[in-house]
């Protein structure tokens, strides 16, 4: 609505020019959070036809102004639009701060909702494009660790799954360019299949309240957002080149955008990464290299009244899995545990051998929106995703290693329609529905029994949300969603397992055919799930805000929780799912208190998440097989509770120098058994000093210290096993978390060369400066190898 109003102002602009005025106004747009310059912000001089963009240093200048007061409207893709009053008296200059999603004008607070997809009552945490650039060579999971309350479940250093406030996998929803990622996220070793460089900003919502995208995000949501493109005739690009010593590899990413005044635009983007074996301080982690090839294209037009966008992205990765982590039973596991270095350490190589993963993810979408006067905005979207996952195991005959052991193809079609009602200034509403059809199939040529069965899944969801502002300082919101899911699977069960689990009595109707040792079953499930949210946002004094949110989320069990049956080599264990599972239901209450001022700001987030039917995977027994003893892990449902606290603070010590602090803790309880939940992130504390000086070529120096405490709450699943070759009974400890550790990271960067339209910057960073040897509780390979040692990274940025 605001934009229409501004449009009308344009029409009046000719009336204002009468006097002869020659003053200039020079401004600089700065990110409120990290004081970085914001390039590409659109500045409109209200009441004139003047519209311009900030340059690479965030600067802009307006000529021909009279003495007096003016208003500027400043918008930037990552931030809320802001209207700033300026008073011009001769040539004037001013710094203007923009903030992610919450706008603060000098004394006047205007909350602009147009850019805010999500919520009033749940705080969003963001990674800016600078922070994303720092992790250009890495993964989404590692980049998100910069946000308090977010950790990562790692398998080695290349496979990293984000954990939000203790929850991961199917409990987290990842939105990539407005599309809900469907990429076999149930697997603990399945990293999100996204190129982090394709996003211009990433935000994390630590809760399930964003009902528009689904009601099952018990853990929260990650949104990867593209750059919004200004309506100007322009051609610009950015290239990032990163080289790192650890892994001895490089990453190059580049993007080029062409935009037109009439609203048409097109962007192409691509990334290439290649790394060899990574290293700990003491040894090479053999077979941990990876490669990535990504490309995306985005084109469309946006005229404010309507717009169309087409987006296609291709992602391909090849990931090596630490050779020493591939084990054939408990005896091998014992040998690996008792050795202080991995059992296989070879010379450095770029070659990637089995065990490894190769994943291709393609995503295509078409979206359209139209605004209706005095009514709202209708958005329609169709998207299609094709995920092809290959996993290669070491086979008995090594010539066969190039034959995949897992070959899964997941196709997902989705259609969604959303209507946003925003014609009323204090009441806003949103409603919509989506329909999704998914088909998972596998190639039988693997000669290995399917890890998850072939299935089709149909989902249908409807939601409605509304928010009402009682006053500019106080807003409440509420919403609800219903989801229907129908799962239709075909699975060959080992007959003995089917009977052992009493499925023959519980689900006789599923049996289609008997193949002596195997049974063909046809399980079908229908789920109805309700989710909802309610919350408030209160600005109770200048710079102080209180947010409170309650959300109810329901998640249906994923294919691996329902159907798993078999040996998992990289964990040396047998994993068994359960057809009887019901949906998980989470009730989460979170409170956020924050203060925002340029001198000191902080955010304190406390939450409690009670989850009924929470699905956990735990060891239950030892099974003798012809390969020796194996641990059997079974999925079970329990009542869980997560209690946690995230804290962020930033203090300006003096001009150019800031102190930053981050702390997170979460406690996970299995309430049915009164014990700790497995794999809960240990508490951590980050302290950093950041120096930045614009006068010295945007020099930035930062030193960060990260302490990860020992997780002292964990379920004790230690067990003993008899080893026949040595005739001894040995204790196997896969439970005790590793010790606390402390890391130092250092970063320095400066502009090398810059003109109005061209800028080069160099950044050098050192991770694990002290070259510490350490192991992390959330790394699944912690039993076999240390984490990474020191790493020097050199990054060159070109903006043009």
């Amino acid at each position: 609505m605001q934009k229409i109003f501004i449009g009308l102002l344009f029409l009046w602009s000719c009336m204002i020019f009468g006097q002869k005025c020659q003053n200039s106004f020079t401004g600089k747009i700065i990110d409120y959070h990290d004081n970085s310059a914001l390039a590409g912000a659109t500045i409109i001089l209200i009441g004139s036809e003047k519209a311009l963009m900030s340059d690479l240093d965030g600067k802009f200048s307006i000529e021909g102004l009279c003495d007096g007061n003016y208003k500027l409207q400043i918008s930037h893709p990552e931030c809320l639009t802001r209207i700033v009053s300026i008073s011009v008296n001769g040539d004037t200059s001013k710094e203007i701060y923009l903030e992610h999603h919450i706008v603060e004008l000098e004394k006047v607070v205007i909350r602009e909702k147009a850019h805010k997809n999500s919520l009033e009552s749940l705080a969003e945490s963001n990674l800016s494009s600078e922070e994303i650039a720092r992790h250009s060579a890495g993964s989404l999971g590692d980049a998100l660790k910069e946000i308090s309350g977010v950790s990562a479940l790692n398998t080695g250093n290349t496979i990293s799954k984000p954990i939000i406030q203790g929850l991961h996998g199917s409990r987290i929803l990842i939105m990539n360019h407005g599309v809900r990622m469907e990429s076999q996220e149930w697997g603990a070793e399945h990293a999100p299949n996204v190129d982090i460089n394709s996003a211009n900003a990433i935000s994390v919502i630590k809760g399930a309240a964003a009902l528009q995208y689904g009601g099952d995000a018990i853990g929260g949501m990650i949104k990867m957002m593209p750059k919004s493109i200004a309506k100007t005739d322009s051609l610009y690009g950015k290239t990032l080149f990163t080289a790192a010593t650890n892994g001895r590899g490089t990453s190059t990413t580049t993007s080029l955008t062409k935009s037109y005044k009439n609203g048409w635009y097109a962007t192409v983007q691509g990334t290439l990464k290649r790394f060899g074996d990574f290293e700990t301080p003491d040894y090479i982690l053999s077979n941990t290299g990876f490669g990535e090839k990504d490309a995306s294209i985005r084109a469309g037009f946006d005229t404010y009244l309507h717009g169309l966008e087409v987006f296609y992205s291709y992602y391909h990765t090849e990931l090596g899995i630490l050779s020493a982590s591939h084990l054939g039973g408990i005896e091998d596991q014992l040998r690996a545990l008792n050795s202080d270095r991995p059992l296989i350490v070879r010379d450095f190589t770029y070659a990637i051998d089995a065990p490894k993963q190769e994943v291709t993810h393609q995503l295509a979408k078409v979206s359209y929106f139209k605004r209706f006067k005095d009514f709202g905005k209708l958005s329609l979207q169709y998207d299609f995703q094709k995920n092809h996952r290959l996993e290669f195991d070491r086979r008995r005959n090594s010539n066969e290693n190039s034959r995949a052991a897992i070959d899964l193809l997941l196709n997902t079609h989705n259609f969604s329609a959303d209507m946003k009602f925003d014609n009323h200034s204090s009441l806003e509403g949103k409603a919509g529905f989506n329909a999704r059809f998914q088909e998972n199939s596998s190639d039988p040529d693997t000669g290995v029994k399917r890890l998850i069965p072939d299935y089709t899944k149909t989902d249908f969801g409807v939601y409605a949300m509304t928010s009402y502002a009682f006053s500019p300082n106080f807003t409440i919101e509420a919403g609800g969603r219903y989801d229907y899911s129908y799962l239709n699977a075909y699975k060959y069960y080992q007959k003995s397992l089917w009977e052992n689990r009493d499925y023959d009595k519980l689900f006789p109707e599923f049996i289609v055919e008997d193949f002596e040792t195997q049974l063909l079953a046809h399980p079908t499930f229908t789920f109805h799930a309700f989710s909802g949210t309610a919350g408030l946002h209160y600005d109770f004094s200048e710079n102080w805000e209180l947010l409170a949110n309650y959300s109810l989320a329901s998640r249906i069990p994923n294919p691996s929780e329902l159907f798993s049956e078999g040996l998992h080599h990289s964990a040396a264990r047998i994993e068994i799912g359960d057809l009887r599972f019901e949906k998980e239901i989470a009730n989460k209450f979170s409170v956020n208190l924050q203060k925002k001022s340029s001198k000191f700001r902080f955010s304190l987030n406390a939450y409690v998440n009670n989850i009924k039917n929470f699905i956990v995977l735990e060891p239950v027994e030892i099974q003798q097989t012809i390969r020796g003893s194996f641990q059997v892990w079974e999925y079970r449902q329990t009542n869980a509770q997560m209690l946690g606290l995230d804290f962020d603070a930033s203090l300006k010590i003096m001009e150019n120098l800031r102190f930053e602090n981050r702390f997170s803790i979460v406690k996970g309880n299995d309430r049915s058994f009164d014990k700790a939940l497995i794999n809960m992130p240990p508490a951590y504390l980050v302290n950093g000093l950041h120096y930045s000086n614009e006068g010295l070529g945007n020099l930035e120096i930062s030193l960060e210290s990260k302490t990860v405490f020992e997780q002292n709450e964990y379920p004790d699943n230690r067990f003993t096993v008899f080893v026949p070759t040595t005739q001894t009974t040995e204790r196997v400890d896969l439970s005790t978390p590793p010790a606390a550790y402390h890391l130092l990271n250092f970063r320095i960067g400066t502009d090398l060369f810059k003109t109005k339209d061209y800028k080069t910057r160099i950044n050098l960073s050192v991770q694990n400066v002290l070259d510490r040897s350490y192991r992390d509780y959330l790394n699944r390979q912690r039993y076999y190898a240390d984490n990474l040692g020191r790493n020097f990274t050199l990054q060159l940025t070109f903006k043009y």
Partner: protein, 187 residues
């Protein structure tokens, strides 16, 4: 506001989704696990004639919950046997003889034996580098006793490591493909 022209495609998409939702997925092809070993047979033939003793271990459901079936014949005291190991995948029909593959990939495999009974085992075969594989072996029993015999097959062991050629497993490394223990009675 939203006229029929706009809602029609939406309705069509819903009908499409409704239609595909009701169709069953295709019945997938059955996969018989190829890499699995279900059975180990140890044939022990006395050098001086007499009945062949057989030790067998059969686990037809592989990683399934059913326990394996073990059968062992008694051995005679102070007798020299020539031994042969046969590995089978009996989930396939006809059964796959896995030992043939092990012999072909001999440089990448080695059997190890460990016993608590009064007997002694020696390798009686070699791979193309002249290192033992252990499919064939000689077994010399001592005085009457009882105990266990454990047979381990390692994939990609370091055959050149100390003691490995003599059948000592400690330094062998590699990955365990098979580990089976038989109860043995020597009379």
């Amino acid at each position: 506001m939203i006229d029929l022209i706009k809602t029609k495609p939406v309705a069509m998409i819903l009908i499409f989704f409704g239609a595909v939702a009701c169709t069953d997925p295709e019945i997938p092809e059955i996969i018989n696990q190829e890499e699995v070993i279900t059975t180990i047979l140890v044939r022990l033939t006395p050098e001086n004639g007499g009945e062949t003793a057989v030790l067998s271990y059969r686990d037809l459901d592989g990683n399934g919950p059913n326990a394996p079936v073990l059968e062992t014949d008694q051995l005679q005291a102070n007798t020299e046997y020539s031994g042969e190991i046969v590995l089978l995948n009996e989930t396939l029909n006809p059964a796959e003889i896995v030992t043939e593959e092990v012999a072909e990939e001999g440089t990448d495999h080695q059997f190890f034996y460990a016993t608590t009974a009064a007997m002694n085992l020696q390798y009686a075969d070699a791979d193309e580098n002249g290192n033992p594989i252990g499919i064939l072996f000689n077994l010399q029993t001592g005085n009457p006793s009882s105990g266990s015999l454990t047979i381990v097959l390692r994939h990609e062991p370091n055959k050149l490591a100390e003691g490995v050629q003599n059948g000592e497993i400690e330094n062998a490394g590699g990955e365990t493909d098979l580990s089976v223990t038989f109860g043995i009675t020597v009379e």
